[in-house]
């Protein structure tokens, strides 16, 4: 017993000693710590001023010596204090271990001797007290939070209500001449700027010329104008090139002139998906773009609607119903589900947007969604549903109106909706869309149907040439490049036609034939996407197959060419991107995560895709890591 008592005493003392030791070391450490913080040996003013003196007097050996010794001292001080902290911390650790060990032993030995505490506290009183204090504390906390919340000013709200509290940085003294955004923003924008200060002129030849100084005539100095085409020829102008005004791009040729198109995205994880909006009405039409506006259409048994989105952020700008059109059927015609009531894509010329639906209703809206005109062409007798997209140019909107009752090609005046010309066609029903091309200096509209592939004069609607080479239910639209027209249909053939008074088939093939997807030609290569998942590339001059690739999913959307790449999306929503090249170079297979049967639309640095359920704006978004 005596022994234990002694031991207890001993360890009690040990605890005290080690405790005091620890405290002392800790105190010293803290002082050291504080000292370094205060003095900052590395960046002393003394050293700085010495260096300054030395730079004024670079030859002074004495100053140099002073600097070197002071610097040495400073570094020594810095690193020694670092060492001291390290050593002190170790000492403290050992002290603490000793302290904790003694404490344990002390408690173990003392354990059995303690007398039980006499419990004299009335638990009822305690409980009442606890209740009171919990409620008081809680109340105080909530109360003070309330007070503080009333005392805080919501500067963000103030800012939003009053606008700029802080002055914007002063305008640069130098005048900045904006020579347009590389012609990319389109007419809408240039007119805004142009009409105000009278500087912006859209040159006829396609080059956008903006004088920096007022008073300079834009065309007088245009000595080295590079004109893409001969003067007077109706060539595809810059505005159309810089937008995506109709199904399959400008003039429906399957070629986009935009650059920086993303090749990598992922719908499910939203990689590079800048925005995504859910579609409210069905429509197998493809998006169409003018400047910042993106148009699509949708229809169900209730209504037919044209939607306009801001393509930059996916916000719906407006939507407009096609209602109250005289002659429009009360009940929409029966169509198959995979065609739908709104298969034709809309088209725009930057002033107005035009849309047609399976009911035969066609309407023209201005860019703000106001209706300019609307009319009914009569319900097309079409067992799947009318699906030929519109195309517009200058003052005309072109409609390929091939039904079971015969074929017509119509041109409506874009301002009034009156028929400019109406040419009957020797054609059975078709689902393909007209394209436009300039052939032999004449602007033509090229159509495909069973059995005829034909070219019509844009101005008069007169048929300029025709050749019978297709059969069956024709869905794919034609393509035109380097003087040849290409047409194809499943169970028929693929033909390269030299148009002219007597058209000639230059070559033909029947290996791979498309059912719905149109053809695309660029750089001497022709691309075909079949409904059974084959994607093939041919030499467009000779018809020699260059390469092919098979996918598990078929293609309904058409291939599009942009920036030397060909984009084609299969029905599962997987885009396949290839280099326009004689050898197969796959550039990626990004997926949308939704089924899709439509053709992509492009803008600079962006691609717009429409899935079964949603519309996607895709841009290469710089990865943010945080």
């Amino acid at each position: 017993m005596q022994d234990t008592q002694d031991n207890i005493k001993l360890f009690g003392n040990l605890i005290t000693v080690s405790g005091i030791f620890c405290l002392a070391v800790a105190l010293l450490l803290l002082i050291n710590y504080w000292h370094i913080r205060q003095t900052k040996p590395l960046e002393t003013e003394a050293l700085k001023s010495l260096v300054q003196q030395f730079q004024a007097d670079p030859e002074s050996e004495a100053l140099k010596k002073d600097i070197r010794s002071l610097d040495l001292l400073a570094r020594k001080a810095f690193f020694t204090s670092q060492w001291q902290i390290k050593a002190g911390a170790l000492l403290l650790l050992f002290g603490a271990i000793a302290f904790a060990t003694c404490l344990r032993i002390y408690h173990t030995m003392k354990a059995r001797i303690l007398e039980p505490l006499i419990d004299g506290v009335d638990s009822k009183v305690t409980r009442m007290l606890s209740q009171r204090w919990i409620l008081i504390t809680g109340g105080l906390l909530l109360g003070s939070a309330l007070v503080v919340s009333f005392l805080t000013t919501d500067y963000l709200k103030i800012y939003e209500e009053t606008g700029t509290v802080v002055q914007a940085p002063a305008e640069p003294a130098v005048k900045v001449a904006v020579v347009d955004k590389d012609e990319k923003t389109g007419r809408q924008k240039t007119e805004d700027g142009g009409q105000e200060d009278g500087k912006t002129v859209v040159g006829d030849a396609g080059a956008l010329v903006i004088p920096a100084k007022a008073g300079t005539s834009p065309l007088s100095s245009a000595g080295v104008l590079v004109t893409p085409a001969k003067a007077g020829a109706p060539s595809l102008n810059t505005d159309f090139r810089n937008n995506h005004p109709s199904f399959r791009g400008p003039w429906g040729q399957g070629i986009s002139y935009h650059t920086g198109i993303p090749v990598d995205w992922d719908g499910p994880t939203e990689k590079n998906i800048k925005w995504k909006v859910a579609l409210t009405k069905k429509g197998n039409n493809s998006p169409v773009i003018w400047s910042d506006k993106l148009f699509i259409a949708g229809a169900d048994n209730e209504s037919e609607v044209v939607y306009c989105f801001n393509r930059l952020d996916g916000k719906l700008l407006w939507e407009q119903d096609a209602k109250d059109i005289p002659g429009s059927p009360a009940v929409p015609p029966k169509v198959t589900a995979d065609t739908g009531l709104s298969a034709p894509s809309v088209t725009t010329d930057g002033q107005q947007v035009y849309a047609i639906f399976a009911t035969g209703d066609i309407l023209a809206l201005d860019m703000e969604g106001k209706r300019i005109w609307a009319k009914s062409l009569g319900v097309p007798d079409n067992h799947y549903g009318h699906s030929s997209s519109l195309i517009c140019w200058k003052d005309k909107v072109i409609i390929q109106f091939d039904t079971n009752k015969g074929g017509r090609l119509l041109a409506l005046n874009s301002l009034t909706g009156e028929i400019s010309w109406d040419t009957p066609r020797k054609a059975k029903i078709s689902w393909s869309s007209p394209i436009m091309a300039e052939i032999d200096g004449k602007l033509q509209i090229i159509t495909t149907s069973s059995p005829t592939v034909a070219g019509y004069d844009f101005d008069s609607g007169a048929q300029l040439w025709a050749i019978d080479c297709l059969s069956g239910e024709v869905g794919p639209s034609a393509a035109f490049a380097d003087g040849l027209v290409y047409a194809a249909n499943e169970y028929a053939r693929l033909a390269a036609i030299k148009p002219g008074p007597t058209p000639v088939i230059v070559w033909e093939s029947d290996e791979y034939l498309p059912e719905a997807a149109s053809l695309a030609v660029s750089n001497g290569l022709l691309f075909i996407a079949t409904s059974y998942g084959m994607f093939a590339c041919y030499d467009s001059k000779t018809g020699k197959k260059q390469w092919e690739k098979e996918y598990g999913q078929g293609f309904y959307g058409s291939p599009m060419i942009a920036e030397g790449k060909v984009y084609v999306m299969d029905r599962s929503g997987a885009m396949h991107i290839f280099k326009v090249d004689r050898t197969l170079t796959s550039l990626g297979d990004p997926i949308l995560g939704e089924k899709s049967v439509v053709t992509p639309a492009f803008a600079d640095g962006a691609i717009y895709l429409k899935g079964e359920k949603s519309l996607f704006g895709i841009e290469t978004i710089r990865q943010q890591k945080k």
Partner: protein, 418 residues
């Protein structure tokens, strides 16, 4: 399998690196001497495999503690494990990652779809909770490095009045609520920032951490485990979970002989006394009180959520973006302060104030949602804590309070019952 995965992971990486060499298109200077150009060294971080070793160690420690506390009834075993945890999770692993901090990772992962949480962080969060549902707070008893250092340095614990203890017991819930709010809004991880003992384990750290650690340890000499009892947000969750634990450490092995020895053993005052006849409440008035509180809780929650939603403005000021936006609006003159690096960098970034304000507004909106939930939660906690005081459970023996007991096993040594 994992190794295979790692190798597969590294393979393209290696290829990429060799590719990089090939890609270096711009040649280095033409050295005529035999100088070889060094490449920058990149010391590798601790591997992923090691993190799972930590999880395994945690699992083993938790299992052993449960066994020692419930089956073996060995205080010494638990003490040994405590020392081990202090050494392994503390001094060796430098206190990172810990389960206490993982609450924030989970909260952020739950709130922010972009945040990628590591599996081992999730496991560090889950394991202690699952164990507490079955065996009580064994995590606090021996596995937690923060608890271990305090547990080892208890000198002369004083008794804190029950009402004060209960009132202070509210702090962990408040701390938890704020920590989850700030983590979920991506503001910051306050639990980690104010972790008092990490600096001590690392024997290295910023001032604040060291001062806080020393203050807590000194306090811990007299108030047993001050951080665990009155601050630890993870402890608050464990407290709730442990109340419903399937099995729990029991002070006596067979039958309590009412010797009261255990009450002196427990430095945390976590042993409930048996009911005395005289304290038995008047059932009628008690029932009335109970109903009153039942009605009071929804009122408190409503009030809390209202006050919470009001408070979101000042709570959100903790977010640096919000603060910067407000600062620029309220003190536009600071724009010319060339010493203020944050404002100068913002101005140099070319971002407009509008964008910053818009971003701040988005964050503030998140805070709005978070704050009213926080308010409602705190209202609920206040209500439940107060109500808990009038619920009487029949007790005949001295028994560990399942919520507050840390399963440290001190009482086991004292119990004279064999």
């Amino acid at each position: 399998m994992k190794w295979l995965k790692i190798i597969l992971f590294l393979l393209p990486l290696l290829l990429a690196f060799s590719d990089l060499e090939a890609q270096q298109r711009f040649p280095k200077p033409e050295f005529h001497t035999k100088y070889t150009q060094p490449t920058p060294t990149t010391p590798e971080p601790r591997g992923v495999g090691m993190e799972f070793v930590d999880v395994l160690v945690l699992l083993v420690v938790l299992s052993l503690t449960s066994w020692f506390a419930i089956k073996k009834r060995s205080r010494n075993g638990i003490l040994l494990l405590t020392v081990f945890s202090a050494i392994y999770f503390g001094f060796y692993r430098n206190g990172c990652i810990c389960s206490v901090g993982s609450v924030q990772n989970v909260a952020l992962a739950f709130a922010d779809p972009k945040y990628v949480i590591s599996l081992y962080a999730l496991l560090f969060f889950l394991l202690p909770l699952i164990f507490s549902l079955f065996f009580g707070r064994v995590f606090c008893g021996a596995a937690c490095p923060l608890g271990a250092i305090q547990d080892l340095l208890i000198y002369k614990p004083i008794t804190i009045p029950a009402w004060l203890r209960k009132t202070l017991g509210f702090i962990p819930y408040l701390y938890l609520g704020l920590a989850v709010l700030y983590a979920a809004t991506g503001t910051e991880f306050i639990i980690c920032r104010y972790d008092p003992f990490i600096g001590i384990y690392r024997m290295n750290g910023p001032h604040l951490m060291i001062y806080l650690g020393i203050a807590f340890l000194l306090m811990g000499l007299f108030i047993a485990r001050p951080y665990c009892r009155f601050f630890c947000p993870f402890g608050a969750i464990l407290n709730v979970f442990s109340r419903f634990s399937r099995r729990h450490l029991s002070v006596f092995p067979t039958k309590c002989i009412q010797c009261k020895l255990c009450t002196t053993a427990c430095p945390f005052e976590a042993i409930d006394f048996p009911d005395e006849e005289k304290t038995k409440p008047d059932t009628k008035s008690n029932t009335r009180r109970f109903i009153l509180y039942m009605a009071l809780i929804p009122v408190l929650m409503l009030a809390g959520s209202w006050i919470g939603s009001k408070s979101h403005v000042f709570l959100s000021k903790a977010h640096p973006d919000v603060y910067l936006a407000e600062l620029l609006i309220s003190h536009p003159e600071l724009k010319t302060d060339s010493k203020n690096i944050d404002i100068q960098t913002f101005l140099a970034s070319g971002k407009s104030l509008e964008t910053l304000v818009a971003e701040a507004q988005v964050i503030r909106d998140k805070f709005y949602t978070g704050s009213w939930i926080l308010g409602a939660f705190l209202g609920l906690v206040i209500g439940l804590m107060a109500m808990n005081q009038i619920i009487f459970r029949r007790r005949e023996d001295y028994q560990a309070n399942k919520g507050n007991c840390y399963s440290c096993g001190r009482c086991l040594d004292y119990c004279p019952v064999e």
